[in-house]
């Protein structure tokens, strides 16, 4: 279900794409002005308001039930099933506490969206709600029931409020243009159409080459579905600029955002050398064999053959093409900041900063905070490898950051516990050819460690920070646990 709907919903990551990392340099320059402050102010994750989450979920569930009663009577069971799947996905966001409940952040997000609504009175007829998602994935999505999720992993990469506004407007456009509902409707009616049913009957009656015929049918349906998704994305981009035009936001933010996203999968962070540096203790020196990986076909690091890249089969046009399509509209809006550069894909995002609309200081503070919240959420949602990866990445620019140091220790302890209980695969991914090289290197590193290595690496990593960081409960607990683990070995 999620796969089928994703093309119409997500801003950046349609379908089964993989998340890529920003270059380290980009992160570094974006974050360097904050280093000094982060070293003096420790990060503490915002507590999640479970009562609020439960209340919100109940309200949306009621909305979902009312929606079910209004579904078309033809093929009703299929509609109920597909809407049921959508609701299951929404409910999971609340159950897994992915929705960020911090009142201050919510107030800011409401203000960002409020500016759009105020300037576009027509939107009042179709109420929607925006929430920050604690996900590290640089994405935003309309998930149904009037809910728009703005992932922290995307927000913390943006240069200004206009870029954030474009992302909100893009998702609002998906919502008001009923892209998701239209896709679901098209899906159900197509599969139940006389044409498809007749072809299926014919195929079922065939004795030979049945699956070959099915493959051909599915290819046609997929092509059609992708074409519609692509159209939806282009429509949402255009409508977003239309929505931005009467606001105080700069429509050029659309172009800089797309230019930023075009480079979001560049991977310039050298994790292997970082691992060798971070986990090289005098009493437990780094061993090269921990980085060993089999690059052959069967070692988890095979180079997959390029997927079909013909543009006709892509779910979305690439970002440069989207920029090209959008540039005339942005220029027509009269405040184009960098259309030409962005269209070339090489624009400098920082150059297009528009004046603050809501609260520039709050925007910067949230960006800073979200860099840590995603680390915390990855750990809280049992995604230890991701939490470690994000911590390592951030620690490069912020060495000795108390929270990051403590979290790395905490993750190593968690990995130790999981491996001991034969549950490591539940909290750490296996290397896969589909993952970015850096993330794969980290996964392989974890795979190459024996239990005694995990215990020792955690302990000897934390040890130099003791007792300076004992002021942090997170550090103290992690350090004590790591000492017990080493003793146990």
């Amino acid at each position: 279900m999620e796969r089928l709907l994703a093309p119409a919903l997500s801003f950046l990551f349609p379908g089964p794409s993989y998340v890529r990392r920003l270059t380290f340099s980009l992160l570094f320059f974006a974050g360097c002005s904050l280093v000094a402050r982060s070293q003096t102010r420790d990060f503490f994750p915002a507590p999640q308001d479970t009562v609020l989450l439960s209340k919100l979920c109940t309200n949306y569930q009621q909305h979902y039930k009312e929606e079910l009663n209004q579904l078309p009577s033809t093929n009703k069971k299929d509609f109920q099933e597909i809407y049921g799947d959508r609701w299951k996905n929404i409910k999971e966001k609340f159950d897994k506490r992915e929705i960020y409940t911090d009142a201050d952040a919510q107030k800011y997000l409401d203000a960002l969206a409020g500016e759009v609504v105020r300037a576009n009175p027509g939107l009042a007829a179709t109420p929607f709600h925006c929430y920050f998602s604690r996900s590290y994935i640089p994405n935003a999505s309309y998930i149904g029931e009037g809910i728009i999720l703005f992932n922290m992993g995307l927000f913390d990469r943006l240069a200004n409020e206009s870029e954030a506004a474009f992302i909100l407007c893009h998702e609002i456009s998906h919502y008001i243009l009923h892209h998701q509902e239209n896709s679901m409707n098209k899906y159900v009616t197509t599969i139940n159409s006389e044409e498809v049913q007749s072809r299926l009957r014919k195929i079922k009656g065939s004795e030979y080459r049945k699956n070959e015929q099915l493959e051909s049918l599915v290819k046609g349906l997929t092509f059609d579905s992708r074409r519609h998704s692509r159209d939806h994305e282009a429509q949402a981009d255009s409508m977003a600029v239309v929505l931005m035009r009467p606001t105080r936001y700069d429509p050029a933010g659309a172009l800089t955002t797309l230019a930023l996203l075009d480079g979001v999968d560049k991977d310039g962070f050298d994790l292997e050398s970082d691992l060798q540096q971070v986990f090289n203790a005098k009493d437990y020196p780094f061993k090269k064999k921990w980085l060993k990986q089999d690059n052959g076909l069967l070692g988890g690091h095979a180079r997959l053959q390029e997927q079909e890249t013909s543009d006709s089969l892509k779910t979305h046009p690439s970002c440069p093409l989207r920029i090209k399509l959008l540039t005339p509209m942005v220029q027509a809006a009269g405040r184009a900041g960098m259309g030409g550069n962005a269209a070339g894909g090489g624009g400098n995002a920082a150059a297009a900063v528009a004046g603050p609309v809501v609260d520039a200081a709050k925007f910067a503070a949230l960006k800073e905070r979200f860099k840590y919240e995603v680390v915390e959420y990855a750990y809280a949602s049992d995604d230890y490898a991701e939490s470690l990866f994000l911590s390592m990445e951030l620690l490069q620019a912020r060495p000795a950051d108390g929270y990051l140091v403590a979290n790395i220790g905490r993750v190593m302890n968690g990995i130790y516990r999981a491996q001991k209980a034969h549950r490591l695969s539940k909290v750490v991914d296996m290397p896969s050819p589909g993952y970015p090289a850096n993330y794969n290197s980290l996964l392989q590193f974890i795979q190459n460690l024996y239990l005694e290595d995990i215990a020792s690496l955690g302990y000897y990593f934390l040890e130099p920070y003791h007792p300076q960081l004992d002021r942090l409960a997170l550090f103290k607990t992690a350090y004590e646990e790591s000492a017990r683990n080493v003793k146990e070995q």
């Binding site: 990551f13 599969i191 139940n192 070692g299 988890g300 290397p431 993330y439």
Partner: protein, 523 residues
């Protein structure tokens, strides 16, 4: 978890139903893609290189082409369960995939084609392109022998027929029936160029021979061959045979019967840094019948690649082993019984470890009662119990220097009349053939720096009652143990070998009709 198509065997098995498509549904009475689509899993297994699991294969029948032909999809997974390749091809309706092996550059698959009565070896490159294809015929009698041969290898995660010879290619060792002869055939398949040759023993002494692959060097295929004078002979001799795959000739064939002892090898391995080989096995007094008499102990020989013995070391049950284990001169250990050697492991620092498991014959009260009451001996008056695991270590001179018994609960292997009449050696072979031992497999680094010996057990304690999967792990310095309780929310839970240091856990959830596979590192 990172955004990706999350892998796992549950996904793979779902693929058996819907191999290519998302399930496309439709309401009652309507057809849907997944209702029309069908694919059947024909065979699955491990892809093995140098005794290490490097991946998995699944052969699906993915379509019917005509009356005689099917389309197949050969799905290849890497060691982490990622799908890396789908190879589609058309072939006979009666096709099965026996085994697969990997040599770092190519993957070989040995197919059995029941229509053409051929064994087809196909060698693919990394792009899934068929590089070489070889074919040989087999007859019905050879087929029966092959099936019998399969039952003699019950360890999970070990190939039975196909082995890699480094980057040169592959070898298969198969039983063969030629008239009244029951012998063996060695097939060499090059992965470098289109070249294949077959070695079939020609001398009279090998008319009734059974061969087992032991290992290879850069030029030799080493076999252990049991020979008999005739098919029903009660006396056999054990040989080590070296076949040179460069010259395509037998290089040596030695039975290691010297002045005083007979060696019955159980393992052969190249000695690192030399051109020599190490042979380890039970030894008997000269004149003993190795099928009936008790062995005297364990011996280790170093030999050259021409078969010449360089060094010999003997460890007697009564003398050497008794220092570390409560052993009598027949090799029987108190409470444990006799030892079956499952695995010989040599580490980079030249330590040698033997993994053994105990078995003993005990009186069966039920068997005695049944024999008296029914006057039938079918049930037997004794039963065979499988007892503890034993790890033994040998020093650089191949003398035993350490032994440790790992307790597990005794279980009954058999109480048929097999247990009453057979010798220690034949009983052990029978137990291995029937998979009666609790030893499962050994997994570890390719050079054995670290290794884990795995076995199953049944625990009855106040905390837990049920089956357990156990490992004895060696980290290069010391042994530690680990245990996985196989009782979970799943209806069934099983453990299979996986890549080095890992196991694959299968959980079947009956209510959800769901089968989950996951890899877990051993603790």
């Amino acid at each position: 978890m990172r955004y990706s198509t999350k892998k796992g065997f549950s996904m793979l098995l779902a693929a058996a139903v819907s191999l290519f498509y998302q399930a496309v549904r439709a309401g009652d009475g309507k057809l849907s893609i997944d209702k029309v689509y069908s694919a059947y899993l024909r065979n699955s297994g491990s892809i093995i290189a140098k005794n290490q699991i490097k991946g998995y294969f699944f052969l699906y029948q993915s379509d019917k082409i005509d009356r005689h032909t099917n389309q197949y999809t050969l799905q290849i997974l890497d060691e982490n369960l990622n799908k890396v390749k789908d190879i589609k091809f058309e072939d006979s309706k009666k096709l099965s995939l026996l085994e697969s092996s990997y040599n770092g550059n190519t993957i070989s698959f040995l197919f059995k084609n029941e229509d053409n009565k051929t064994l087809d070896m196909k060698i693919y490159d990394f792009d899934g392109k068929l590089k070489y294809s070889y074919s040989r015929e087999f007859d019905k009698k050879t087929d029966e022998l092959m099936k019998e041969y399969e039952t003699r290898h019950t360890d999970d995660g070990m190939n039975k027929n196909v082995f890699d010879l480094g980057d040169r290619g592959y070898v298969s060792v198969l039983p063969m029936r030629d008239g009244k002869q029951r012998t063996y055939e060695v097939d060499y398949y090059s992965s470098v160029n289109k070249s294949q040759w077959t070695y079939v023993p020609t001398d009279d002494a090998e008319k009734y021979a059974f061969a087992e692959y032991m290992g290879c060097t850069d030029s030799l295929i080493i076999l252990q061959v049991e020979k008999r004078n005739h098919a029903m002979s009660g006396k056999s001799s054990s040989h080590i045979v070296g076949i040179n795959f460069i010259t395509k000739k037998k290089q040596f064939d030695v039975d290691y019967v010297n002045e005083d002892q007979i060696l019955v090898p159980c393992s052969v391995a190249p000695l690192e840094g030399t051109n020599n080989l190490m042979i380890i096995g039970s030894y008997f007094d000269k004149g003993d019948n190795i099928d009936k008499d008790f062995s005297k102990g364990m011996a280790v020989y170093e030999i050259t690649t021409s078969g010449k013995i360089l060094t010999k070391a003997y460890n007697s049950w009564a003398g050497d082993f008794a220092k570390y284990l409560p052993t009598n001169r027949k090799g029987k250990i108190d409470d444990i019984g006799y030892l079956y050697i499952h695995k010989v492991i040599r580490t980079p620092d030249h330590k040698l470890f033997l993994v053994g498991e105990g078995y003993k014959r005990t009186a069966s009260a039920l068997g005695i009662a049944a024999t008296v009451l029914t006057r039938s001996s079918a049930m037997g008056v004794t039963k065979i119990m499988i007892t503890d695991m034993v790890i033994m270590q040998f020093d650089e001179k191949y003398k035993i220097c350490y032994a440790q018994i790992y307790d597990k609960n005794d279980n009954t292997a058999t109480w048929s009349n097999v247990s009453d009449y057979n010798s220690q050696h034949l009983l052990a072979t029978y137990l291995k053939m029937t998979g009666a031992f609790d030893y499962e497999f050994t997994t570890g680094d390719e050079d054995n720096t670290n290794f884990s010996v795995c076995y199953s057990d049944w625990v009855r304690s106040s905390d837990y009652k049920g089956q357990t999967f156990n490992t004895i792990h060696y980290n290069g310095k010391k042994f530690t143990t680990d245990k996985i309780e196989l009782k979970s929310k799943a209806s069934t839970m099983r453990v299979f070998p996986a890549k080095s240091g890992n196991v694959m856990i299968l959980e079947y959830f009956k209510k959800d009709k769901r089968l989950d596979f996951r890899l877990e590192k051993l603790g």
